[in-house]
């Protein structure tokens, strides 16, 4: 199939544009998204095309706008609420956790909430502790939410289009470092279903699971390791909820070694949960302890060197992969 090179933000814009054209109930609200086109230029041009009824600027009222989005979704529309930083989504947590995530169960399955919150997280050039967080674990913990973290333009487009067609509340977590990255995106109707991971690089020695901005970083690490004769398989789950357990377990069973990389700080993170799933389901397939490479358990500092030190870097991934390849003490004793 034909494809074109797009930036991540352009791919997101295409997804919104195509879905707005297809479905008149899709609309988008957020701070500075209309005339200005959004802080990351994702919504540029949409106001001119769809008008002020469906592309609306909001005041600085995160709880209000998330709540209004949830209400509109309950009432049958398909709102996209853009929140500038995932950090600011904390102001709307009641609406996300107590309303959106619960409505389906509380109504005995009768009510659905096709609400999409687009936001972005992660570190990115010294924006300090309140603008740098990776908060996916908070949403991951809440039953009823879908947690989506695309790492490529193609995935960003396909997953966002799917988000606007499925019935549940979606936390669509972009990464501030990825907006300007480029990648090939298939022409035509490109949709990526939730719950299907992607093998970003095939390999045989070690499985590395990573998502969002940790994917490109891990791919760099894998490239460097390949020069040293180590074959790394890079798995991007793309959607943390639902999680493609089958792909993860199959890969780990093949390589028998696993590293999980997350930008978020380690404690209570998604990596720990994925680790627990592998231990439960594939313990006897493993030849080495699972390694988790994660952010430090501290708020992200402003100082650039410290910011870098607080989240996983390429060399951290390389070192972890190497550790899993060490001969195990058990094997040594047996030998």
């Amino acid at each position: 199939m034909a494809e074109r090179e797009l930036m991540y933000r352009e791919a997101l814009r295409e997804a919104i544009d195509e879905e707005m054209a297809r479905d008149p109930t899709v609309f988008i609200i957020g701070e500075g998204i209309a005339e200005r086109g959004g802080s990351y230029k994702v919504t540029e041009g949409l106001l001119a095309k769809y008008g002020p009824g469906r592309v609306r600027d909001t005041p600085i009222a995160e709880a209000g706008m998330i709540g209004v989005g949830v209400g509109a979704a309950i009432a049958g529309a398909r709102p996209i609420v853009e929140i500038l930083y995932v950090d600011f989504a904390m102001l709307g947590m009641d609406m996300i956790v107590n309303q959106a995530a619960k409505f389906r169960l509380m109504t005995g399955g009768e009510g659905r909430v096709p609400f999409v919150m687009r936001t972005q997280g992660g570190t990115g050039g010294g924006v300090a502790a309140q603008h740098s967080q990776s908060l996916e674990a908070l949403f991951y913990h809440i039953p009823g939410l879908r947690v989506i973290m695309p790492s490529t333009p193609a995935d960003a487009k396909g997953l966002l289009k799917y988000a606007l067609r499925q019935p549940d509340p979606v936390m669509f977590l972009e990464h501030k470092h990825l907006y300007m990255t480029k990648g090939m995106v298939p022409d035509g109707e490109h949709i990526v279903e939730f719950g299907k991971g992607d093998i970003k690089r095939a390999g045989t020695d070690v499985t590395v699971i990573a998502w969002s901005n940790m994917v490109p970083r891990t791919l760099e690490a894998a490239e460097e390791l390949s020069l040293q004769g180590i074959s790394v398989e890079v798995i991007d789950p793309r959607t943390l909820v639902p999680l493609d357990r089958a792909m993860i377990l199959a890969s780990v069973s093949r390589t028998r070694r696993c590293v999980i990389v997350q930008e978020a700080n380690r404690r209570g993170g998604v990596a720990s949960d994925i680790c627990s799933i592998i231990l439960e389901e594939a313990f006897w397939e493993l030849d080495a302890p699972i390694e988790i490479v994660a952010g430090l358990d501290i708020p992200v500092p402003f100082n650039l060197a410290l910011e870098k030190a607080s989240v996983p870097q390429k060399d951290d991934v390389i070192a972890a992969v190497r550790r899993t390849l060490h001969e195990s003490p058990v094997a040594r004793a047996a030998g």
Partner: protein
């Protein structure tokens, strides 16, 4: 407030009948529901709407099919006024498969999205943004539907009050915020939570047409809501209506409400909204005692039938739970 002022334009007969029927039905539902609670048939939270029936009855009689409502933790009355099935409500309170939420929701979460009822809510203040959202959805779809959020004095000190009413205002949404100001948030008196206890002024402060009404006068509530609906459908919404009222008992069935001064309670009980709806039906529409008695008997029978239906209804099964848990 228009207390004591003669009504100039009496609403049509069928509206007066509807208002009384609704108010009385709610009265029966709550009174009998509390008995079921005391018998142990209902568990969990149960916040009675006793004393406030006139608001739900008056407001909902001004709405039509296709409109939306969102409610509060004290939500039974709004549901009934919206035309909900008493059977499915009681079944829900009894945690049965046949309830509105199949036993998954309970008193604070009864919703029926198929009829535009966004539901009660266990989070004080949450109904306001949700209702504004429904109004926004209507506007995006080009519908003239109106959304009413029933809210409370307590909720107006929550941040979502300003955020969402302001959004409704800048977007001229067909949204009516009905603040049922019953003077208390559990045991906290309104004058302890805010300096100016006239809550309608909050709307004026952000350019929203705002009114204050005697919430215990169902006919007046209806009249003001009719006006508000008209304003909204003319594209000039939102509208805020503060309805002054009072609870006839404590915050929930297990709250004796000792903090409510006797004279205050007596004052409001003498202005009972159900009595006033009944009097209006007699005086303005000429209903006879026998006709009114028939309406009352019907409401009682409907509730008794709902209890029988609910008691006989099947329990929630492990199989349905397992199936339900799949999607999470």
């Amino acid at each position: 407030m228009n207390e004591g002022k003669p009504i100039q334009n009496a609403p049509p007969r069928e509206i007066l009948e509807k208002i009384f029927r609704t108010a009385y039905k709610i009265r029966v539902f709550e009174t009998e529901g509390i008995k079921l609670y005391r018998q142990g048939l209902i568990r969990g939270y149960f916040h009675p709407y006793l004393g406030q029936e006139g608001i739900a009855a008056g407001v909902c009689a001004a709405l039509k099919d296709g409109d939306f409502i969102a409610s509060t933790h004290r939500g039974h009355g709004h549901c009934i006024a919206w035309g909900a099935s008493v059977r499915k409500m009681v079944a829900e309170l009894l945690q049965k498969e046949t309830g509105y939420c199949k036993g998954y929701g309970g008193s604070m979460h009864i919703a029926d999205i198929s009829t535009g009822n966004l539901g009660a809510n266990g989070i004080v203040g949450a109904g306001t943004p949700l209702g504004v959202g429904a109004a926004l959805a209507s506007q995006v779809r080009g519908s003239d539907a109106v959304t009413v959020t029933f809210s409370t004095d307590g909720a107006s000190n929550n941040g979502t009050f300003l955020e969402s009413l302001n959004l409704a205002a800048i977007w001229n949404l067909n949204f009516i915020l009905v603040i049922e100001n019953n003077g208390y948030a559990v045991s906290t008196r309104i004058d302890e939570s805010t300096r100016d206890t006239d809550l309608y002024k909050r709307g004026l402060a952000i350019g929203v047409e705002s009114h204050q009404v005697d919430g215990n006068d169902p006919v007046e509530v209806h009249r003001v809501t009719m006006q508000a609906v008209k304003t909204c459908r003319a594209g000039k919404g939102p509208v805020l209506i503060e309805a002054k009222t009072y609870r006839h008992m404590g915050h929930h069935v297990n709250d004796p409400g000792k903090y409510m001064p006797e004279d205050e309670l007596a004052h409001y009980k003498a202005r009972d909204p159900v009595d006033r709806a009944r009097a209006a039906l007699k005086e303005m529409a000429g209903f006879s005692d026998a006709e009114i008695g028939a309406i009352e008997a019907e409401a009682a029978a409907e509730f008794a039938d709902a209890v029988e239906f609910s008691v006989k209804s099947p329990e929630v099964t492990a199989e349905s739970f397992a199936a339900f848990a799949q999607g999470y």
